[in-house]
């Protein structure tokens, strides 16, 4: 019961007193330069150690350890599977009346390929997250897995204006297509090695990104619509996400890359990245924002936004001196005057913690997204940092 409750909230609420929460909130909401408990700047991530290709038995794997000791290991495994159209996608073309659909003016149908075979299907990517202390059908692992999976399959790579393919038409889904009848199924297993000390999303997302970058698929030897068979030689295997090579000369910022999901909180008017457990406990709003490289505009593009239930809603309120029976008579009358907190729109007495209520203003969301997407902003910095991890 309690595990369930905590699971759906952003993290296990740390046992902080109302005074501690209020102190944290005040220091984090200082206009323009919030003071974080560990002295980081608002956009700074915690130091981490990362390595790739650690498990020879997988198609791709990665490990990231945060300095606080939380570690995640991600293993990617690919299997070949026969493409079947499931019952919910009863394809008109699989029925015998397909010739009637011919002149309907639909270009894709004219090329007689069912678009499932070119577009791929989101269910071909499966993700499971194991967190110690949670069953794998608990709310937290399921929510995290869905969150990361949907940005992964949602990212659609494109051709650029002059028609040069970036190798990933149709994004990850398209890359998994072998031919009309066969496709790859990708299993992404995420293993958190210790109880999460903070909301594990950034750790899991970064590790998954690295594992996918290092994922290789065997080189296809069969051609066209034959049953697929592959080159035994692992050395010629191809990366799932194509890498820069001598023959192709596009700069790394134009390549299709797996998305990263960033955890962003807003406290007062400040936007803070990669919050630790204490910081997330006082957040006004928590957003998970997935971004990836935009192959066309060199910038970043937004894939998903999800709100996450801020744990500050579940905290215990502080009692102002004016209402505290023990302090009766000890306070000057004018000492605790409620002021309007511009961020939450509620009357608050400074220094007295109130659990958050209500939602987020649209302007706050817009501000948070802007900080992520901005040129030279945190999103680009993170992607560049991950690119720097030696793969192979």
């Amino acid at each position: 019961m309690t595990a369930q409750r905590q699971a759906s909230s952003a993290a296990q609420t740390p046992h902080l007193s109302a005074a501690e929460l209020s102190y944290l909130y005040t220091s984090l909401s200082l206009p323009n330069n919030p003071i974080r408990p560990d002295g980081r700047s608002p956009t700074q991530f915690r130091p981490l150690a990362a390595e790739c290709d650690i498990l020879p038995g997988t198609n791709g794997s990665a490990r990231i350890g945060f300095a606080d000791g939380t570690q995640a290991i991600v293993g990617v495994k690919a299997e070949v599977e026969k493409t079947t159209l499931t019952a919910d996608t009863l394809d008109a073309r699989s029925l015998s009346l397909q010739s009637d659909l011919g002149p309907s003016g639909d270009g894709r149908e004219g090329t007689e390929g069912s678009s499932a075979a070119t577009g791929g299907h989101g269910s071909w990517v499966q993700m499971s997250i194991e967190i110690p202390g949670f069953r794998d059908d608990d709310a937290l692992p399921v929510f995290l897995a869905e969150m990361m999976r949907e940005s992964l399959v949602g990212s659609v790579g494109g051709k650029d204006g002059d028609g040069i393919e970036r190798g990933m038409a149709g994004g990850l889904k398209g890359r998994l297509v072998i031919n009309k009848r066969w496709h790859w199924r990708l299993y992404i297993d995420v293993l958190l090695l210790s109880q999460p000390l903070s909301y594990p999303l950034p750790l899991l997302s970064l590790t998954t990104h690295l594992a996918l970058l290092s994922t290789k698929l065997p080189k296809l030897k069969s051609q066209g619509e034959e049953d697929p068979f592959f080159d035994d030689d692992w050395a010629v295997a191809e990366y799932l996400y194509p890498r820069a090579s001598a023959g192709l000369k596009f700069n790394p910022s134009q390549q299709v890359r797996p998305p990263v999901t960033l955890l962003v909180i807003s406290v007062g008017e400040n936007v803070i990245f990669d919050p630790n457990r204490e910081e997330i406990a006082v957040a006004d709003a928590v957003l998970a924002i997935s971004v990836t490289r935009d192959t066309e505009s060199q910038g970043l593009k937004l894939l998903t936004i999800r709100t996450i239930d801020p744990p500050s809603r579940l905290t215990q309120p502080g009692v102002p001196n004016s209402e505290n029976v023990n302090m009766l008579g000890a306070t000057a009358p004018g000492e605790s005057v409620a002021v309007l907190n511009p961020a939450t729109g509620e009357e608050e007495i400074p220094g007295v913690w109130r659990p958050r209520r209500g939602g987020v203003k649209r302007s706050v969301i817009a501000g948070m997204v802007k900080t992520v997407l901005k040129k030279g902003g945190v999103g680009e910095e993170v992607l560049a940092g991950l690119e720097g991890v030696q793969v192979g």
Binding site: I54, L55, P56, G57, T58, S61, G65, A67, D68, G69, T70, Q71, I73, G75, V76, K77, E79, S128, E130, P132, R135, D136, D137, Y187, D189, L191, L193, S194, L197
Partner: protein, 264 residues
Amino acid sequence: MPLDTSTTYPLTRLRLDGRRWNELRLLQAQISTNPASSGSSYLSMGNTSIMCSVHGPAEGRRGDAAGSSGAVVEVDVNVAGFAGVDRRRRGGGGDKTSSRIAVILRSTFQSHLHTYLYPHSTISIHVSVLSSDGSVLAAAINACTLALVDAGIPMPGLLCGCTAGMSGSASTPKDPRHDELDPLLDLSLPEEQELPLMTIGTTTVVPGGEHNMDDDEEETTVALMTMDSKLHSTYTETMLAVGIDGCNQIRELLEDVIKGSNRG
């Protein structure tokens, strides 16, 4: 091309992966890999790799009368979905193999550790099998030992695990005159699937004082022995001897790891 050890071995006296009968796979280990736990280790024997972390001794759950005489050991084994050759989906809360390993580890370490020093407390061990290529239980024992050493939990000696098998099905009595079957040490997954297999765990009481120079043979205790396969009884002694010998080799390797980490 012969595909299993039982056909290659009589011809070449080499096993499928090119080892001789008494050779261990490459064992690599590291301790203190995870600063968030009291003790942790990473151990790989060939392609089997395991991460282990220990939490505790910590205060046990309230209302738990079980720990009144000493610490309670809890073991949680998690085999990653990507550990095997084919990706395996975990159904709900763990499967048979992993819970079996957990039970064996729990009972072994419960009796091995000096738990009486920590009444009313819990020592929880979390084992993640990252890749399984045979001898998982033995590797898990070794990884747990290292993590427990890292956590500083007192024990009489290092508990080392190893597997032993026979190079054939060994269903007929042993013929002392021309014995074709050799015992094998440290089985890999393909061997484990076709050959009889025994997992042995031994420990030594650390020799102290003037007994230090005495032969170790006397001090070795078998702490664990499991076998699920069928084997003629005349072969058990050979396998046991090989297994104990393997455990001694592993003990030296583990000691090196522990000493090495102290230096660094």
